[in-house]
Homo-oligomer: 363 residues x 4
């Protein structure tokens, strides 16, 4: 084999001629070059290269879940690749610190020449959001409008088609919903579960009422939120209530998927669930890092522009802050702790159940 390998040269392999000739400051067109415009360009180009890598991993993961079944071997690889995305995201978040070495005035020296370009026009970032599961329907109004407006026809069309594809969120929802968690005739998990949760809620109720350090107002607030918790618990077992919560975008997963994920988290230390649990944790971390990135990015923009409008003609940071929370994709995994019981309160998993699940997860 080695005989036929053509010799490779570092610079050609990496196509450095294209890569390193792709920084053309606009400021040069209108006067002396603004020194920091190169930083501005390269920071964004590095982001785009990382986005390409993240999309490379994401699409390979989506391909796996597009299959009829996902076996252990595939899941091992999926977890490995999602962990890589998490590692890359840490860099993306720290990279904001590099942009922050640019002062507002250094930015003002070329900002006006970039109108109306805007980070909202990053196709890859939108592919990332969509691929994970943030489709238009989940976006806040302002975002929904501006989402496609700012793009040229080619990009808009491309993204509109891309949005038709199944997202990782949708595929994971189906994968979880397919799990046979609710059919164990003799193992009455969910009854036991409901009994245990009622005890837990009662004890939380006692904690609040017996807490001398809380004012009456505070107690009322806490008891109200406790009632909401009780309500969301009951929703888990009532299709009608649950679908109402879905319509209010309080939950996104299907009820079946929610229960499966809950089951996996409850028994995460069972070897049989080890990979499935790692997988859920990865998705949560990816969402968390994306949220941290949005938040730090919004603050950086505020520090750079105050309430000045951005190059895209929108006063960036206010808008960006609004999306930080609303664009959370796997928020159900974040809130799942609400429904978790202490190990001590868990019914032991019967061998028969492990076996059925084992079969599902490994074949």
């Amino acid at each position: 084999m080695k005989k036929n390998v053509e010799p490779v040269y570092y610079g050609e392999y990496l196509q450095l001629d294209k890569l390193l000739s792709a920084q053309k400051p606009e400021s040069i067109k209108y006067g002396p070059e603004a020194h920091d415009e190169t930083l501005f360009i390269i920071v964004h180009q590095v982001y785009e290269l990382w986005f390409k890598q993240v999309l490379h991993e994401l699409s390979s993961v989506i391909d796996v879940f597009a299959q009829e079944s996902v076996n252990d071997s595939a899941l091992t690889q999926v977890v490995h690749r999602l962990n890589r995305i998490v590692t890359i995201q840490k860099l993306l978040n720290d990279q904001i610190g590099v942009m922050e070495t640019m002062t507002p005035q250094d930015f003002l020296a070329f900002r006006d020449y970039l109108v109306p370009a805007s980070g909202f026009q990053s196709i890859q970032f939108k592919m990332l959001e969509m691929g994970l599961g943030l489709k238009s329907q989940f976006r806040i109004d302002f975002d929904k409008q501006s989402f496609f407006n700012r793009l040229n026809d080619e990009d808009r069309q491309f993204l509109q088609e891309f949005e038709q594809k199944q997202s990782l969120f949708e595929l994971v929802d189906k994968w979880l919903a397919r799990m046979p968690f609710l059919e164990f005739e003799d193992f009455k998990f969910w009854q036991l579960y409901q009994t245990a949760t009622n005890e837990m809620l009662q004890s939380d109720h006692d904690i609040i009422t017996n807490n001398a350090t809380l004012s009456d107002d505070e107690k009322r607030i806490e008891l109200d939120s406790l009632e909401q918790t009780r309500a969301s618990f009951s929703s888990l077992f009532d299709d009608n209530i649950y679908s109402k919560l879905q319509q209010q975008d309080q939950v996104r997963l299907s009820r079946q998927a929610m229960l499966s994920a809950l089951f996996i988290k409850q028994y995460s230390e069972e070897p049989i669930f080890n990979l499935a649990h790692q997988f859920i944790e990865c998705l949560t971390s990816i969402d968390e890092n994306l949220t941290i990135w949005r938040y730090r990015h919004a603050m950086m923009v505020q520090r750079m522009l105050g309430s000045k409008i951005g190059t895209g003609g929108s006063s960036g940071h206010e808008y960006l802050k609004r999306t930080t929370e609303s664009n959370r994709i796997f928020k159900d995994f974040f809130n799942m702790a609400t429904f978790l019981l202490p190990k001590s309160a868990l019914p032991k998993l019967p061998e028969s159940v492990s076996q059925r699940l084992g079969f599902y997860l490994t074949h």
Copy 2:
């Protein structure tokens, strides 16, 4: 001198007997030890040790600004120490990742034994917030109430006295307000400044209206926010308007201080302002890192508890998220970019002015 030095032993110098015997899990009292409770204890103890260090630096900085005047030499040291705080904060933020290695269920195994203890009871963290300038009046209602309620009498009394002291924010405000920036008879900076800003706002107006990618709605939104920007500009030169904004907590600095800070940022590259500018940047970074910490902390709590109530009897993360923004202390520095002009639009600083300022800053 060296003759009389008593020999020192590592473990005694660091008082490791006290330090390493101070981890007593509550879970042991009620059953088998919860393995992860030690992590929970040590993570919080490390935070408290760093808080002590940060307070050590902060109080030395406060002492400097409590003086009649702050010379270059003192300011050099202040900047060095604030940069140390920033370095420590990066650790504090990353440390959340260590806590996140604890699963919700590992936490549930001992959470109930910690009632009603709560991070709200960290005296040092409140000293840090107060020392920087976050006094009760700036806190949101819920926070205002719970602020002292949860503490025992001794701690409450201590903090109430501590709150009487001048905060760094108050001292910096006075220091800035003292600067003789508005008295330069012949140098008409602020007139020139107003002319320049009007041009800038006009061009922003054009950017928006000429932006084909914006819908009419979006344009309206942007033009409104531009009007707000115009309003805040004019407020800089009208005591009545400005004090209204202060009452609405839109700005916290006094008008004089705001103008001085603005002047320093405008001319930050003048060597004479180098240290003063570094100082302002440090304060902004400290505030930014504190905000990031609050945000990541809130998300970690959500991941750990969902909407379960915390040990202190309050559903943590919702509340914590509310404070993330509202507890910003030096937010005026964050928004200052709103008022900055490009260097090209700046009037050259006359020698006479540099000299007066130089005298103020170095003596």
Copy 3:
């Protein structure tokens, strides 16, 4: 249960009275307090707290491997806890940046008062090194001597006893050596393996000789190192050669353990090996981070002291640099890539083999 829980107060739970009263600068005894001595104390105290946490995890892992057998469920937990250690180590490494905010002169202001205290006297750090597997026999001479000299009798005695216990390295070596990897009558893995390696070495030989960019000297150097590689390969299958390498401390694992680890790494994507492989990777990362810590620490000491002697009376950084490499514990895992074959060259794992290994790993 909740009824009987005694209320807990944050400050008492964390024993902050002890913790925050444990910083007593020596400089005060001899003159005005050296401001930065507090930083010096707290940085070291934080290190000791983290060391306690790491030892808490490490000893729980050692307990698992002290058992007759290690099942999947236990291994899941072990990997989780080792990953926590890795997360903590990242903090420990970044924390050096905090110490580096102290200038050499700030340190000189109190260094002389700390004589002859020294970081070499950290019992917990030595417990960590010993617990992982760095016992005296593996230390370089200077280190071997100073190892116990600097300690007081109590500490010395404690560590000498501690060193008698089995280290994680020793336990892991036995656990790997126990694996039934060499007994598969019909599955001739190691023969196939040797054939494949010979091909690989031959092709490496061609790569070197055909490389026009290498000078003859360089080629000679590379071909020599290739011969060494060939030698180490053959050592894997010859007890005499292998034990020679062990005596020269070129390898530390037993031959059986080495072969098992190699097998696991070769087939790491087989679900059955997933956990075992994660476990090996964790140990490698822990060793890597410890090495990075030693290296950065040595450089920090150089920046602080140059070639001045440290408080312990030894010129720190030269010595520290010498230990950086020699104190690597799981270096065999680092070098294992030497022996790995591309997946394409691997014989497919027969079902019967997976089953036997599966049985070993899960029961």
Copy 4:
């Protein structure tokens, strides 16, 4: 002005068509694509983009020091830009963690197709090393040879010309040497300095001999190294001895430059030296981060290849480790602490001196 600005589109501004079409895995040519080759390509491309940014800052700094004189205003900007390089370097070091998510076997799947490409062929990295001051004469033999061999004619010629330019090290050496530190008739700094150092060395001598915890061997070792320290001190004041040390590459700065740097570090808290000191610290940090990068990179290569040869036909990590220390550029700044006195031992700086230096530094 704004009137004439041509509208800019995000993707065109960043030339994403070129950037995102520049990843062509070699593995495709010979069989199925190796999934991780894209990671390998993008990680290296991101490095090259950052290198371009670092070179952008570095060359602007070199331009400043190529001038007759460097005033405060220029130095302010230089420090700002060097700090940016330090911030970027932290990313470059953490980025190694991304590469480490690739397993040795994932790498083996395409390694053979990249022969004989090698990171040694990165022109920008060599420009960075040369620009800072690491010219061929300072490289170890192996490196000296391979330095140009591996390059094609065009690149070799380019670098050979580039190497003729003055490096930052050379320019900084001259800048420091020009400082009028040794001509203060009445201010006998260097005499006072020598008296003080003798006292310090004597007290170090006592510390060692009085240290009960040291064995006689250890004491001898320490006393020898103390003698070396004494020798290096005296070298500062003897041209012949000093130039011997230079020939042995024990020191790189000229004696005049060394003394100036020492003076600045001694009086770093004098406002007049604030910027010059920050500048020296930046250069030290850049060198430190470069060293950490080399060290982590070497360890990553070991983990990936063991003692297998790299694609360039050289067994990477052994060689890389050898360069980690030898390629330090500003090592004199690292060792400078050797020569520092405690503030208490420093003669007060006379006003006349500050003024002369002030004049030199600000004009």
